[in-house]
């Protein structure tokens, strides 16, 4: 296993890893122990813990996972090729399905890229609405994370509670955009149509309900001693390792990296809002979970501020009838719920992109898995997979 800038094995052992029993690595330890045999366990592609079709080739020795090799590509749909055959409006609807938990966040970089190429000015109302919708989508995504993480650790109830809250927010999203998961709402230049009456109340109510119920969640999981045992000091991803694997988003922030595109390189109107970048220093499963749960609160704060400052006005900038990005190339990055989502758009002046390279957060995040999974227990593998919240569609595209 290539270790890019990883800390020494001793330090990893000292930070909660199982001491290595692999004969090649710890030859000294092999004597005087039971002679054990390795077994290759094929986890996935259809396995309840892999939320999706993710395959992990695990070499296990008893309960200890010696080596883990993620195999991806089971959900590869050829996005980057497909978008070359579609015009921008059709792509908006397609990339929404890329990371299915954060549809509207995927549409945003595309819209921003086209706007940047075409030099379209987006009216403030559209920008505010974009922020609101993006942040609500972020809450949806994080709730899903909460649900799946609990379920993987064996606590099935959080799933049910989280889905109930998701439903409330999804209702508002549906009344606004027409879709529950795939919105297809952003257009180069603005948004598709203005929000319907009752949007503000609905959004506020939905977001506040989540905030109100957060203590319940914390009681169910965060404060739970068993949960703490299962997550604290498990699956540590150190700061330097996180850097070298290109990890971004909540997982990087859980390793103490205060990195957030919304703060570092503000797009839309994020620089007008008061919010914090949540981070935690330890880099274990608990910290990753902690950061995600805190981020729900931050997103709620942004939604409230944006609703407060929502200006009246048009929702579309001056755009030509047919969107044709002029020749050129542009890279736009946004903070997806799972990390940095970048789109590199090359246009040859057609109605379709010449090339669209998508840098998805999950893909980079998941590359750190085999490093983190090494020398852990099989049960911890589940906790780590859960805390590395990834979406298969986002990895494979």
């Amino acid at each position: 296993m290539a270790k890019v800038g990883s800390p020494s094995e001793e330090r990893a052992g000292a930070r909660g890893r199982v001491p290595s029993r692999h004969p090649e690595e710890g030859a000294a330890g092999a004597e005087g122990r039971f002679k054990t045999e390795e077994m290759i366990l094929n986890v996935g592609p259809q396995h309840p813990a892999t939320h999706g079709v993710f395959r992990l080739l695990a070499t296990i020795d008893g309960e200890v996972l010696i080596d883990a090799d993620p195999v991806i590509g089971y959900m590869h749909r050829g996005y980057e090729k497909l978008v070359e055959q579609r015009d921008y409006r059709q792509i908006t609807n397609l990339v929404s399905r890329m990371d299915w938990l954060s549809g509207i966040n995927n549409e945003l970089p595309l819209a921003l890229a086209v706007e940047k190429l075409m030099e379209i000015e987006v009216p403030p109302r559209a920008q505010y609405l974009r922020v609101i919708l993006c942040e609500m989508n972020r809450i949806l995504n994080h709730l899903m994370f909460f649900a799946s993480f609990g379920a993987e650790l064996g606590a099935i109830t959080p799933t049910f509670y989280a889905f109930r809250e998701r439903e409330d927010i999804q209702r508002v999203m549906e009344a606004t955009t027409g879709g529950r998961m795939h919105f297809g709402f952003f257009r180069p230049g603005g948004i598709k149509e203005d929000v319907p009456e009752g949007f503000v109340e609905g959004a506020l109510a939905g977001v506040r309900q989540v905030i109100d119920r957060l203590p319940d969640y914390e009681n169910l999981l965060v404060g739970n001693e068993i949960f703490k045992q299962r997550t604290i000091d498990i699956g540590i991803l150190e700061e330097e390792a996180a850097y070298s694997y290109g990890v971004s988003g909540p997982i990087a922030r859980g390793s103490g990296i205060t990195m957030d595109v919304r703060k570092d390189e503000p797009y839309l109107v994020y620089d007008q809002f008061d919010f914090d970048v949540q981070s935690a220093p330890n880099g274990d499963c608990f910290d990753r979970f902690w950061v995600l749960i805190r981020e729900v609160g931050e997103s709620a704060r942004i939604v409230e501020q944006a609703i407060e400052g929502l200006p009246p006005g048009p929702i579309m900038g001056k755009v030509p009838r047919v969107i044709q990005a002029p020749e050129g190339e542009v890279y736009v990055r946004c903070e997806n719920p799972l990390g940095e989502l970048g789109m590199y758009l090359v246009s040859d002046g057609d109605r379709r992109p010449y090339r669209l390279k998508i840098r998805t957060p999950s893909y980079s995040n998941v590359s750190a898995l085999s490093y983190v999974l090494k020398n852990t227990y099989v049960s911890d593998m589940i906790a780590i997979l859960g805390s590395f919240f990834f979406v298969l569609g986002d990895i494979d595209r």
Partner: protein
């Protein structure tokens, strides 16, 4: 809006760090008890399950459940089929030539819709077809219950699609601060003030149209009754009801008197409304470039004869269509709200019905073929499209397939590929040779020389 009541708690950074340290401390079972309290609390809470077949959610009108077709509005312009990313819309039509309306006029052609089917097994529910439809023939309905045992049954024909029109809701009112598309003024009072700019247009239109009452009557029936040709006889009964409808109805009132029952039974198809053209020339259309996104503004003028038809013939006793929820005729709403957010306001984006074109063309004629071709380079399923089959780049086989196979095989084996890989590559090369595709440019030129 009282935003401050409930604001999400703001925490400082050191606060967060302290809380995290506290949360990471090992507990002594209190956390377990708290968790049990949470679940126990929910045992006694009122359940919020939506017991689906017995009770159903009240879905919003924008919900993308199923696409309904208002058959009368469809002019077979094919925009939807061509814009569909999945190509799941199938349209068949034929052209009919009708006798000229007046002595010496040119014969009219019109498209008759034979088939309009959507394959819902393939549809990705993106709504682009609804968005691009320039004549408001497609709407989103909230229905979602159409699972089938056979995939072929998921392709629904126009009869079924028209049935779904019954469940289409009027578009929602917009949030405070929204700009209603097509309105010259900003802000909320738009909704009420919208009638003003529209009014003269309608007056003109009604005057112009009054000369040909029979046609107007014919049109009123199918449109106004939400697409039910069976109700074509409605204008007669509807006449007395026209009076109470306030406002602009007054100008329109004289028109239906001339509507003859015979004309009312005419087939429910769109007719050319040549008389409407002069009225549109006088219409103060907004600047096309500036207001491009607000296409329905343009539609206000082009659609006005229809609108009048509806209001005269078929909106019996609905003084304020905005409040009536069961009338699925968005044109009326559109007018009342100032060109309003009809279910497909985005039509303006491709804006075939934008004012510029409307001045030179009549609304029911369908878009100019050239215009459509210019707009839509994407070929549609029902149009002559270049074949999608992969075509060989070179038409004549230049190499002997067998030779190529042998050559590549030995070449690969010599290069050190495993026998399987070598064989696979050789097979690929043979297939290419059979189809006349040069293996790679280098090889081809070498052999040629």
């Amino acid at each position: 809006m009282a935003v401050d009541e409930h604001r999400a708690p703001r925490t400082t950074e050191s606060d967060d760090a302290r809380r995290l340290v506290k949360a990471r401390r090992p507990g002594f079972g209190i956390g377990l008890l708290k968790g049990m309290a949470v679940t126990l609390k929910h045992l006694f809470k009122h359940n919020t399950v939506i017991q689906y077949p017995d009770e159903k959610q009240d879905l919003s009108s924008r919900t993308r459940g199923v696409i309904a077709l208002k058959e009368e509005n469809c002019t077979v312009c094919m925009l939807c089929a061509r814009e569909c990313p999945d190509w799941c819309i199938y349209i068949d039509s034929h052209k009919e030539t009708l006798a000229p309306k007046r002595e010496g006029g040119r014969p009219r052609k019109r498209n008759i819709l034979d088939r309009f089917a959507i394959d819902y097994a393939l549809c990705m529910y993106c709504g682009i077809c609804v968005e691009v439809c320039p004549y408001d023939a497609l709407f989103w309905s909230r229905e979602f219950e159409y699972a089938e045992y056979d995939i072929r049954e998921l392709t629904h024909e126009k009869e079924k699609l028209s049935d779904w029109m019954a469940s289409v809701l009027p578009p929602p009112a917009l949030e405070e601060g929204a700009e209603y598309p097509g309105s010259p003024t900003r802000a909320p009072e738009v909704a009420d003030g919208a009638a003003a700019p529209v009014k003269p247009v309608q007056a003109e239109a009604s005057d112009a149209a009054a000369g040909t009452p029979e046609r107007r009557g014919a049109q009123a029936a199918p449109l106004g009754t939400g697409g039910r040709p069976a109700d074509a006889g409605a204008p007669k009964e509807a006449k007395p009801d026209v009076g109470p409808v306030p406002g602009r109805q007054a100008e329109a009132a004289p028109a239906p008197e001339g509507a003859e029952p015979a004309a009312a039974e005419a087939p429910p198809v769109q007719e050319e409304e040549q008389q409407a053209a002069p009225s549109q020339e006088q219409a103060p259309g907004p600047e096309p470039t500036a207001e491009d996104h607000a296409g329905p503004g343009g539609r206000t003028e082009t659609a006005s004869p229809e609108v009048l038809g509806i209001q005269m013939g078929a909106e019996p006793a609905s003084p304020s269509p905005r409040e009536s929820t069961e009338t699925p005729s968005p044109e009326v709403l559109g007018i009342q709200m100032g060109g309003g957010p009809a279910p497909s306001p985005g039509a303006g984006e491709d804006a075939v019905g934008a004012p510029e074109e409307a001045e030179t063309r009549t609304p029911q004629e369908g878009p100019d073929p050239e215009e459509v071709a210019r707009l839509q380079e994407t070929p549609g399923p029902n149009v002559e499209v270049p074949n999608e089959e992969p075509k060989p780049t070179a038409l004549d086989p230049t190499e002997d397939p067998k030779e190529v196979y042998e050559a590549v095989l030995s070449d690969q084996l010599a290069k050190g590929s495993s026998p399987e890989v070598a064989e696979a590559r050789a097979k690929v090369a043979r297939v290419k040779a059979e189809r006349g595709i040069a293996r790679n440019p280098g090889v081809a030129t070498k052999e040629d020389s």
